[in-house]
């Protein structure tokens, strides 16, 4: 295996701390996300995984008590100072833990982002719907009923629809926030397959409670505990020879 001397960086957090009111959620985290990798983020509840995820596309700012210190960068530009929040969210898409389709048709869910960005070309939108649904491995299941309410789909289908909806914005980075937490094993396998296919073109960060899932799909894994990054390394290294005892304890199921 050839190890790049200085691997490229798509996004990075530098000395990043987050508070919600008086509660500190993240403490001085520094790490990089490389292009076209899947970076798994594991750790017990309240370890700051989701806070980190929501820091990357400024979704945190919805919470009025959110405060931060440090820097987040996207292609070396400061996400919180040089870029506009709306722009950041277009370039850094997110898929939430629960499948959250809007109560619209399947088609209108997929085209929601592009339409609001001003895309009017019907032909273009139709193609985008097909492309996005194919990429999310949902096209064959829904191609004949695109006008059906999205809420009628099964949970697993809904979650893949949400992935398609995020893909339709043509983002550069996709954040997955425990995307399979509400899904059965077969749906989970489909979503994981989708992620592996997407890896070729997107930078992916996957927050998961499921350590095995991180092992299955991630290129690298970061382990968080109580708001701190304990360590981050190649997946095989993390699961065979972690440097920190706490990582080993968590992975082997001794706590969390």
């Amino acid at each position: 295996m050839v190890v790049d001397a200085a691997p490229a960086t798509k996004m990075a957090v530098e000395d990043w701390s987050v508070w919600y009111g008086p509660l500190r959620a993240l403490t001085s985290v520094s790490m990089a996300i490389r292009p076209t990798e899947i970076l798994g983020v594991i750790g017990p509840a309240n370890s700051g995984k989701t806070s980190l995820l929501r820091s990357l596309n400024r979704m945190n700012e919805i919470n009025p008590s959110f405060r931060y210190t440090g820097r987040v960068t996207l292609d070396a530009r400061d996400v919180y100072h040089d870029l506009d929040g709306q722009d950041v969210r277009r370039r850094v898409g997110i898929v939430f833990a629960l499948p959250l389709p809007l109560p619209l048709s399947i088609r209108d869910n997929v085209t929601y982002g592009p339409r609001l960005r001003g895309e009017r070309n019907r032909q273009g939108l139709e193609e985008l719907v097909e492309r996005s649904l194919r990429a999310a491995s949902l096209w064959d299941e829904v191609k004949d009923r695109l006008d059906l309410p999205a809420m009628k789909l099964s949970g697993g289908q809904q979650q893949r629809l949400c992935i398609a909806r995020t893909l339709a914005m043509e983002p550069e980075v996709i954040l997955f926030d425990e995307p399979c937490s509400g899904l059965d094993p077969i749906s989970t396998a489909k979503v994981e397959d989708t992620m592996l296919q997407l890896k070729a073109r997107y930078t992916i960060m996957l927050v998961t409670n499921n350590t095995k899932q991180a092992a299955r799909v991630s290129d690298r894994v970061a382990f968080f505990l109580m708001g701190e990054l304990i360590e981050v390394d190649r997946t095989d290294v993390m699961f065979t020879a972690p440097r920190d005892q706490r990582t080993n304890d968590y992975i082997t199921g001794r706590f969390g």
């Binding site: 596309n57 979704m59 919805i62 009025p64 709306q86 722009d87 969210r89 277009r90 898409g93 997110i94 939430f96 629960l98 959250l100 809007l102 109560p103 929601y112 982002g113 609001l116 960005r117 309410p149 809420m151 909806r165 995020t166 914005m169």
Partner: protein
């Protein structure tokens, strides 16, 4: 259970039941009397004819049309303003002493006696704005009166839209306003409509606010513009019940019945709409 407690329980149940039954009976009796005495007057002619012989005979056409126009105009003013205020309060305003004050004002506004609105409308719209006694002045007065109803209902409707819809929309690169416009407002419309209809029902039935601002004692023609006076059902009922001697009872009860049917059917419509949208709601 000891005997004493059992007896107390029976007494309590009996009292509670009696109170409930009394409420129902009172409502039924009021409606019953009006229906029984007024039903005889109802006819197409009663609804579509001008009043004659100093309102002792003929129909209630101008009062009915006047009320419908008044209420329509009221909605035109109250709905956009009420919904806009509700959107501001729920989606934009941060918690501060100012928004708390505004909320307090809205709550208090709904407790103001309607005759006070009438005087306020007289002072502001009829005299200060020089609209005269007119549909415009009356509708604006009624609009202010039902604003709290519309704002409160709209706020509730907006707040009942899941927070996740807003998050999803923002996460897809929508702006704050686009999110409100496309991911919140459409799903709040049923609730807003219900509140608006209830407000309309209230506006249609009130006498005091229109007393000084729009209502004509006797005007056997339709209003020509929004700057014209108009007859209105509640005021017409007041006039023929107290101001003119020797009016046949059926004339009074017929008018009361039409007003009652109008308001009740509006309320019923609101209930049905709410039930339908609840059933169709997908989240």
């Amino acid at each position: 259970m000891p005997e004493r407690a059992m007896a107390m329980q029976r007494v309590a149940f009996a009292l509670l039941f009696a109170a409930t039954a009394l409420v129902g009976l009172a409502a039924l009796a009021a409606i019953g009397v009006i229906v029984v005495r007024g039903a005889g007057a109802l006819s197409w002619e009663f609804l579509s004819a001008m009043p004659t012989q100093g309102m002792r005979a003929g129909g209630i056409f101008p009062a009915l049309v006047g009320t419908l126009e008044l209420v329509g105009l009221t909605v035109v003013f109250a709905l956009p303003m009420g919904v806009a205020a509700a959107i501001y309060l729920t989606e934009y305003a941060r918690q501060s002493w100012l928004t708390r004050l505004v909320r307090l004002a809205i709550v208090n506004l709904s407790g103001v006696p309607s005759v006070v609105y009438g005087l306020f409308g007289l002072g502001l719209f009829v005299m200060f704005c020089r609209f005269g006694t007119s549909l415009l002045a009356g509708a604006l007065t009624l609009a202010i009166m039902i604003l709290p109803v519309i704002i409160t209902a709209s706020e509730e409707a907006l707040r009942s839209v899941p927070k996740s819809f807003r998050e999803v929309s923002l996460s897809l690169g929508a702006s704050h306003w686009q999110t409100v416009r496309h991911a919140v407002l459409p799903f709040a419309i049923p609730g807003i409509m219900t509140g608006t209809i209830l407000g309309i029902g209230r506006a249609a039935g009130e006498t005091a606010p229109i007393l000084f601002t729009v209502a004509a004692f006797y005007l056997p023609r339709l209003p020509r513009s929004i700057f014209d006076q108009a007859m209105a059902l509640p005021y017409h009922l007041y006039v023929i019940s107290t101001q003119i001697p020797n009016i046949p009872l059926t004339q009074r009860y017929g008018t009361a019945l039409v007003l009652l049917l109008l308001v009740l059917s509006l309320n019923l419509l609101a209930v049905i709409l709410r039930a339908r949208f609840r059933r169709r709601r997908q989240w």
